[in-house]
């Protein structure tokens, strides 16, 4: 048993690419080794921006041997009349590396056939590695790949060296224009030149001596400790940021934390401007005091020992100051024109071709938002109206127009500029919250005006896109319609805005007016799309498709109500009673499908059998409770009531033939069944529920 060290040395790979690639590297190695019948123990992984490494413990020296049977030609073809082997037999033996004399015959239902017992001796692991490693490396997943040498090999960035050591011996492997050896590379500046690796067991130490901490978890721990140390000196803390920590772990090989400072005057800027300037481009950690107040410091993770700390700190401080100065310049310029005075500027910005300018969009959103407000929260109307009117004006500010890191503060800047101009706080908050939820799982707006604005904006965007035929296809959703649809459903559902989906869409269609060519079709398509999203969302919550479908196909106007119904039905699903009830109900539906005409109300005088009389009585006994349970949205209780009908329905179908010769009796029975169908139909279309054993 040996250990194999395999290091793919590269130019700097993007931080976000590394972990997924490393995971795939180990996984694919494992499956290739298994397929190649090479035993091994644990596989360790290492990575820095310049290397992806596997350390495979307990690797067998050879493939395991393989004994297998190969099926050959029929006996009658393989031997001539004298019993001598034909070309077919000789060829088959040769192909499998055995003598003709060693071939056996077996009896099958198609006659006698030749069989060869083949013994395949395992090849040395080193030879197999030379074949599988290039294939594994070529198949590593990266978001983007490039070529750099004449063979056209594709990888995240150029591969410049390969270390492949089976214990102390180099395994020959060639990938692109690079051949394996034992020389790795250390830190670019601190340890230039080749770094010979003695063997797999010294890999970590050899690189440590060359200023490379090759284990990502070890690097991460070092970074965290270093950050704590520099922050404690100043009695401050960094604002925890796990994603950033993860990213910087893959940006450096030898981490060193440096605390830098900036002029206090920049703290007059809104916090998120300052933290965005630090974080999004420069990858600095922001710093706060014990009370959570932002401090004029930052922590950057440099790649080195810190011997050059003074000049590195000064350089980084200069860069951040330039960015903050840019932001401060924008902030001052932008505030010189109040949001209300920017509304007219929106006319110059095209929102979408055929759907007018941003001013047109603003006017529509305001009208829709006011109407929603009137319906669900009349007292909020003034706030909603004002927030809608000035809500998009931050798009005319330099800070947002910049097109760089501050652009993503859209909405946040709208809020800050509104506050700076003396707009009421609830107006400013609604401007900020109009974009919430920004992504799946994001918080909903905390305020009613924010929720109303978000709904109005999204429904307008959706209808415009549907009308223009910009529906999502596959993974392409350039107008983010799926996100908007989910946002709307969440706002109306868990967000508690008491408005029906259809009503919202009607409002939007009405306000878009002549811009929509075929309003009826746009409404149907949008409803259909929303239905799909709702089914999808409930599916993600773990509800089965058939129950969701049973409820949604009935009515999807109130997403919260839909979920309550689904939940109630799911809770009964596994019970025997429920299974039988649905089975009976399906029979009811099938019979009604065949029956013609209007059924009317059943006349008890026309009942002939006890079972139909009993069913009728059970239905009428259940009805009042059932209906009041529905009215109270107590769907569990409603289900309980339906369950009481299980026995009567079963006995009815056991004893009663619906299609009686006598038309009056027949019609009366149909009337009884259609009464049941109506009853059930107020809860859900249970005939869509798939029973055990059904497809």
């Amino acid at each position: 048993m040996s250990d194999l060290l395999l290091e793919i040395g590269t130019e700097e790979i993007p931080a976000g690419y590394i972990e997924p690639a490393l995971r795939a590297f180990a996984k694919n190695m494992k499956s290739h080794l298994k397929e190649a019948r090479i035993a091994h123990a644990e596989i360790e992984t290492y990575a820095t921006p310049r290397r992806l490494t596997l350390l495979i413990h307990g690797l067998a020296a050879r493939q395991e041997d393989l004994d297998r049977e190969e099926n050959g030609p029929p006996k009658r073809v393989a031997f001539d009349e004298e019993g001598n082997p034909t070309k077919a037999a000789i060829g088959f033996a040769k192909k499998n590396g055995v003598e003709v004399a060693d071939l056996r015959t077996v009896e099958t239902d198609k006659g006698e056939y030749l069989v060869a017992s083949v013994h395949e001796a395992g090849r040395p692991t080193t030879a197999v590695l030379g074949e599988i490693v290039p294939a594994i490396v070529a198949a590593l997943p990266f978001p983007k790949t490039q070529r750099w040498e004449s063979s056209g090999f594709l990888f995240a960035r150029p591969i410049r060296w390969i270390v492949a050591l089976l214990d102390q011996t180099v395994v020959p492997i060639t990938i692109a224009d690079v051949t394996s050896g034992r020389e790795s590379r250390g830190h670019r500046i601190l340890s230039p030149g080749p770094v010979p690796i003695a063997g797999p067991d010294t890999y970590e130490d050899d690189l440590m001596a060359a200023h490379v901490v090759v284990s990502p978890p070890a690097r991460r721990v070092l970074i965290e400790a270093a950050i704590d140390a520099v922050a404690q000196e100043r009695e401050v803390r960094i604002i925890p940021d796990d994603a950033l920590l993860e990213e910087v772990t893959y940006l450096v090989e030898y981490p060193h934390a440096i605390l830098g400072s900036f002029d206090k005057r920049f703290l007059a800027l809104p916090d998120r401007i300052v933290t965005t300037a630090m974080r999004s481009h420069q990858r600095y950690f922001a710093v706060q005091d014990e009370t959570g107040t932002l401090q004029p410091h930052f922590v950057t993770i440099a790649n080195g020992t810190g011997a050059n700390e003074k000049s590195v700190r000064a350089g980084n401080e200069r860069v951040l100051t330039a960015r903050l100065a840019d932001a401060a310049f924008y902030w001052d310029e932008d505030r010189a024109t109040a949001p209300a005075d920017r509304v007219a500027m929106l006319e110059r910005i095209v929102w979408q071709k055929g759907m007018g300018s941003l001013l047109d969009k603003t006017e529509r959103v305001r009208t829709i938002a006011e109407a929603i407000s009137l319906a669900v929260a009349p007292s909020a109307k003034e706030t909603v109206s004002r927030a809608a009117q000035i809500g998009k004006t931050d798009l005319t500010t330099e800070m947002i127009k910049d097109g760089k890191e501050f652009t993503k503060l859209q909405g946040y800047m709208g809020m800050e500029y509104a506050l700076a101009a003396g707009e009421p706080e609830e107006v400013a908050l609604a401007i900020y919250e109009q974009y919430m939820p920004r992504f799946s799982g994001d918080d909903l707006p905390s305020s009613v005006p924010g929720a109303i604005l978000s709904l109005a904006d999204r429904v307008d965007t959706m209808l415009a896109a549907v009308s223009l035929g910009n529906m999502p296809t596959g993974s392409q959703d350039p107008y983010a319609l799926r996100r908007h649809a989910r946002g709307i459903l969440r706002l109306l559902g868990e967000g508690g805005v008491d408005l029906e989906v259809g009503r919202l869409i009607d409002l939007g269609v009405e306000v878009l007016g002549a811009r929509i060519e075929d309003p009826a079709k746009v409404k149907t398509d949008t409803m259909e799309f929303m239905r799909g999203r709702l089914e999808n969302m409930l599916g993600e919550k773990g509800y089965t498709y058939d129950i969701v479908n049973a409820v949604v196909s009935l009515n999807m106007e109130d997403p919260a109500d839909v979920e309550e119904r689904v939940l109630a039905i799911r809770d009964f699903r596994e019970t025997d009673d429920f299974q039988n009830l649905v089975h009976g109900y399906k029979r009811v539906v099938n019979i009604l499908k065949k029956a013609e005409g209007d059924a009317g109300v059943p006349d008890p005088a026309l009942f002939r059998d006890d079972e139909e009389r009993a069913l009728h009585e059970a239905v009428e006994a259940a009805r009042p409770h059932y209906e009041s349970a529905l009215a109270e949205r107590n769907y569990r209780d409603a289900m309980e009531r339906l369950i009481t009908l299980r026995g009567p329905i079963d006995r009815f179908f056991d004893k009663v033939l619906v299609m009686d010769k006598d038309e009056a009796i027949r019609k009366n029975r149909i009337a009884l069944l259609s009464g049941i169908a109506q009853l059930f139909g107020n809860l859900a279309d249970l005939s869509k529920v798939v029973l055990e054993g059904e497809n």
């Binding site: 700097e12 150029p158 940006l251 790649n303």
Partner: protein
């Protein structure tokens, strides 16, 4: 000048800046056309680059509409290109032991040129000083061999070396600053770009340049045709800075320029092929 010496010693043709407005050294035919096809090429030159939208009337210490790039193009890309680049920084007097050098992911793309590549922004102590790109496509044509482009931001580098906080304070020599030399024209050009440039005139220019480029391409005059592609691109930049192009129109204009760039690229490769790629085999020893 130290960069000239450094790259000249490494076999680069010291080429000249382009004689018409460009947004980047990439537009210079010494890059755009030469990276096409199989022939080797090495060049280095300064390019005065104009980005009308970036002007700030000389009030922002870090942003101007006209600045200098030092452009190096190496075809095919050498295996030790990162090390050579690092050497070039030492050659201009940067003591890397005193600084934090990083190669930070950057996917470069020029939709107008139909060009893209992968590489990095090179950071010194957090400041971007160079764009380092392995070209994959230009003029919508797949490249083989791959060229590497190094674009040094000269103002950024000099600010770094001189330790000044504003472009305008850069010491051009012992007597004059960057501001002394260029502030006046910077402010004037901002006025032109944002206010005075006549929209109809530039729209007309764009049309004319586009037609002229297409006509010259038909006649097989590739280099002059390319001049008009570059001019059309600048006319578009002017229109954009004036704020007279909407988002949807923008895509269409870019598409028109890209289309011309593609035709030029294809014609250039065909021409070189007819000539039997005369530079093949040159400079292989270096």
């Amino acid at each position: 000048m130290a960069l000239d010496r450094f790259w000249s010693e490494r076999g680069c043709v010291l080429s000249t800046p382009y004689n018409s407005e460009v947004g980047a050294g990439t537009f210079n035919p010494a890059t755009f056309l030469r990276v096409l096809g199989p022939e080797p090429w090495k060049a280095a030159y300064v390019e005065f680059s104009k980005r009308p939208k970036d002007g700030r009337y000389g009030e922002n210490p870090n942003r101007v509409q006209g600045f200098h790039q030092y452009q190096v193009i190496l075809k095919p890309s050498p295996a030790d290109v990162q090390d050579v680049y690092i050497e070039s920084l030492r050659a201009i007097g940067i003591d890397l032991a005193q600084h934090d050098l990083r190669f930070v992911e950057d996917d470069w793309e020029s939709p107008t040129l139909g060009a893209w590549g992968l590489g990095w922004e090179v950071w010194l102590d957090g400041m971007e000083v160079t764009q380092f790109t392995y070209f994959q496509q230009t003029g919508s044509v797949d490249l083989d061999p791959i060229s590497v482009e190094l674009t040094y931001g000269l103002e950024r580098l000099v600010m770094f070396i001189q330790g000044v906080d504003s472009i305008f304070d850069i010491r051009w020599n012992d007597t004059f600053t960057w501001g002394d030399v260029l502030r006046n024209s910077e402010v004037d050009y901002c006025a032109l770009n944002f206010k005075e440039a006549d929209v109809d005139f530039h729209l007309g220019q764009f049309q004319f340049f586009e037609t002229e480029a297409a006509r010259l391409l038909e006649l097989g005059h590739i280099f002059p045709a390319y001049d008009y592609v570059v001019k059309a691109s600048h006319a578009f930049n002017m229109l954009e800075a004036r704020g007279s192009i909407s988002v949807t129109e923008r895509t269409a204009y870019i598409g028109r320029i890209r289309n011309l760039a593609r035709k030029t690229a294809v014609a250039y490769v065909e021409r070189r092929e007819e000539m039997g790629f005369p530079l093949l085999g040159k400079g292989a020893g270096k």
